[in-house]
């Protein structure tokens, strides 16, 4: 896969958590492309992404990056792909270099959203 660094972020680890991760990434990568890492199925937009059925997700920052990674080319730019793994109580983000480019911003946003009350605090049914 990618020879990067694993960033393990404590999380509710639900589809909503993975969805929040994708939304944050897409703010920085508006032309992001997606791939179910388990099935290889690809999605070109956030709208068509069946987040609720995905446990491992690849996000490319552009169609060009996707093509480069698909072809296993050496010219795939640094930090042009993120690999998300939804665990039992965490989200793992695999990234080339967490300290360069827009990656610190992306990771900060993910950490912030993973701590949202709404992803963690259960409510009784009458309050929904």
């Amino acid at each position: 896969m990618i020879g990067g660094k694993d960033i393990v972020i404590p999380a509710a680890a639900t589809p909503a958590s993975l969805d929040a991760c994708v939304r944050i990434v897409q703010r920085q990568w508006p032309n992001a492309r997606f791939e179910d890492a388990e099935t290889g199925e690809k999605y070109s937009t956030y709208q068509e992404l069946p987040v609720g059925r995905i446990r491992e997700l690849l996000v490319y920052n552009s169609a060009e990056a996707e093509s480069a990674w698909d072809d296993d080319r050496d010219d795939a730019p640094l930090n042009s792909m993120l690999y998300f793994i939804l665990g039992e109580q965490s989200v793992t983000v695999v990234v080339d270099d967490p300290d360069s480019g827009d990656m610190p911003l992306i990771l900060e946003g993910i950490r912030s959203l993973m701590g949202m009350d709404i992803l963690h605090i259960p409510v009784t049914r009458g309050a929904a």
Binding site: T45, Q47, M116, I118, T124, R125, A127, A128
Partner: protein, 163 residues
């Protein structure tokens, strides 16, 4: 709407932990027609704003739930017959990826209420406004974060229902 739509909606609400929406409605037998009417009004609002139809029928919501149950659940949790259709269109747009550019709320006790959202989706910007305080409840479903110390509303999320 057909009887099958009522049946599908009831099933969808039950499987989403929202059967009580029907049980507590007065009179109970009018609950599903009232919710179907709301879905029709959301559909009309969407059509009026975007010139295209996105079905909010129970069948369409059931299909959407197959891929993204958490998004559909967030939407269903916000449905009430007294909600403003435009604000539910706004929620749907955000669930589909639109960004919240601006939000404003004004409140004066027993006098006035205003909730206003500006969304951006690509180059397009849309404004949604309500003077109905019932719509204030959608604020508790907002994704809330800080990035570089700055405020961020991003997404709408379903409340987690306790077992």
């Amino acid at each position: 709407m057909s009887r099958s739509s009522e049946s599908i909606l009831e099933s969808l609400l039950q499987s989403s932990g929202l059967a009580w929406l029907v049980d507590l409605y007065e009179p109970r037998e009018q609950a599903l027609p009232a919710y179907l009417d709301l879905l029709d009004r959301i559909d009309s609002e969407y059509q009026a704003r975007f010139g295209e139809s996105v079905s909010f029928s129970p069948q369409a919501l059931e299909a959407a739930a197959q891929s993204n149950r958490h998004r559909t659940l967030a939407f269903l949790q916000l449905l009430r017959p007294d909600r403003t259709p435009a604000m539910l269109v706004m929620v749907w747009r955000v669930l589909q990826g639109a960004r919240i550019r601006e939000a404003q709320m004004e409140y004066r006790e027993l006098n006035a209420f205003r909730l206003r959202f500006t969304l951006a989706d690509g180059e397009r910007t849309d404004v949604y406004e309500s003077h109905n305080i019932s719509d204030a409840v959608l604020l508790r479903h907002l994704g809330i974060a800080k990035v570089q110390g700055q405020p961020l509303f991003d997404g709408f999320y379903a409340l987690r229902l306790a077992d």
